[in-house]
Amino acid sequence: MEEEFKLFNDLLNIGCCKLCAVRYLCKKHIDFSNVEEYLFENRFHENAVKTDDETIYNMDYKKIKTNPCIVCLGLLQEESLTQIIQSDKLEKAKQYDSEVFTCSISMPAAILLRERSMQIYLKSQFPTFYKENTEIPLNRVWKVFVKNELGRYLQKEFENSDTCNFSINVAMSYALDIEELDHLRKMQPKMYLERATQRRKYNCELFSRKGVITALSNTPSNNFMTNYPVPPEIPSEFLQVKDIECKHNSIFFAGRYTKYSRDLSQSPWIIDGVKTMETSVQEIIFDSIKNVLGISENNLKFSSSGREDCDVRCLGKGRPFYIEVLDPVKTQISFKEFREIEKEVNKAALIGVFHLQNVDRSELTKVKEGEEEKTKDYNALCLSRDPVTQEQLDKINVCGKVEILQKTPIRVLHRRPLAIRNKTIYEMKAKAVEGEPNLIDLHLNTQAGTYVKEFVHGDFGRTTPNIGEIIGTEVDIIALDVTAINLDWPREIEYGSNDHTTSSDNNDISCRLIFSTLVAATSCYTIWEVTAAARITKC
């Protein structure tokens, strides 16, 4: 202990702050949020060693006029904590609804220089003590130092960075940073000459943090000592708050969407910088989220289990999708708010959104799985060059499982690599359409990733076998609906039973559900009817 008392007093004597002095005691178990207790219990007060001439450090180290610490430049002193708390840049952290926070610090590189100087000093003064001990890192102590105060101010609980989703980064600047770092030029003239001349390579930054670390590790102690004071001099300035950045990890919403329009793409379709369609599934959903939750579309990312063409409808239960919300300020979204988003989406009646909910990041892999593994059901309306015979329909119906080889469709060849893919059609059911001898009503269950349009018309023989080949005539596809995406995700929301829903909400939801099933059920019939009419008019 004797050595430690001596060390502690010496550190204070040369101008270390109290926390830095304790850091250099190299004791991992010390609770830095309450060093007083440690110091008191271990009788640091009583054992303060008198210096030769004065006794000022005896007992009263608390009362020493505080200079900025020679190592941390004030980072671990009340001064900087007050500055952080009073900074208006911290205001935005309060807006986040997260109940927990973690924090980190970006320090000026001059601190590295000073730490090195301290290391050399202490190794020469206390060689036995520093042979095996290393000090507690500055950033770790800073976290402990600020977390309680910061937490009280923000009314959030501090949490470890590996589990916490909301982080606050405080960047501190030091007015004399460049001036002090300039000593490095004398220590590593060659390195810094190169850095000064090859500006582009080093991004115009002479003293990067990484560069300073390299420079210091390449500089032997004697070189360092001739070019920089050991121990470091007492600085004239405290650190200043430069910036405070807040960031919340993404949260995710998931749901299913149905699409009733044949003139609507899934994502905005932009050719040569011009949007070709007024809106898209993504934009409708984003707009609704913006209207209800006030989240800007710039912070939203849309992903789904596959996609349908703009002229293909997606009916039945719809397609699973999720939305990543980047840096969310609001993370707690109520059942009612989700229902309001759904209601908002349905206003345009182009698409429907159901089962909207919060999901965990770990669940998202299921969507990609669904994209590759799950089967999809389709209903295709096909047009044959010649009137369709029962025999031809039978040919389709007895197929059972069909393995097909599909070259990348010409339709998407400009944006996909050319490849031959092996896909499976699990089941097909073909029916005649009453009053329409050239039409086939085809129901398919296929492996995910099958290009159904090409399976019908054959894409100039690039998909084989195809429907045309199977029935021995030229066949084209007129209309296509996705009727099911057989992926059980996300979980279904129970609309009726939740207490939070008002009766009018309930009513509306059930109506919409009925509405979507109705459309699904009648749609094909409608196509045929209208087709029939159209054909007759044409004739």
């Binding site: 060849l413 996909r416 690599p417 100039f460 023989g461 007129i478 509405f515 109705l518 209208v530």
Partner: protein, 195 residues
Amino acid sequence: MLLCTTKQLDLNKPLPQRNILESIADKINDKKIFLSVHERYYEHKYCVALPGISQDIHQKVGFHTNRVCLLSLAENHPIRKEDKNISRINFKVSETLDRLQNKVSGKSKRGAQKLHKSSIICYIECSDDTNYPVYSCVEGKLVEINDKLITNPNLLKAKPDSDGYIALLLPVLSMYEDLKSSMLTKEQYFCLGSI
């Protein structure tokens, strides 16, 4: 229940049910849907002359809306017009260059054979000993040769606009519009034939 639906939906601006039904009707009424695939998605243009080539060329280029080009024989090509019997299609256009060795990878079709307008894609050899070169007509990349022609060369005549296509090409995009306008329309092509 249905009444309730109507009432609820009335509150939201458009009438969804009507809307949806009408949109299908629009689509079905559109005569485009009764066209075949190559008519629906491709704009066909005719190439009759190329710089540095003295004889007439009777070729057709189908421009897909996504700018992929489909190369085929035009209606007035001697093979089609005189219904010649094709004995073989030779894709080895020089000692060192075999179009069947073309390999592309990735979205941008890396490694594709580069083509000029007058690059030869293949030679069509007929049973009457005539031999017709097929030109690229398009400056760009060779994406795919129709490999069905190797075993069944007469597809060229039988289904010239669909399964009998010769090759898929990806034109240099900066020259795309110029390329398209440099070729003849169907009307122009047939007018030319009648003179």
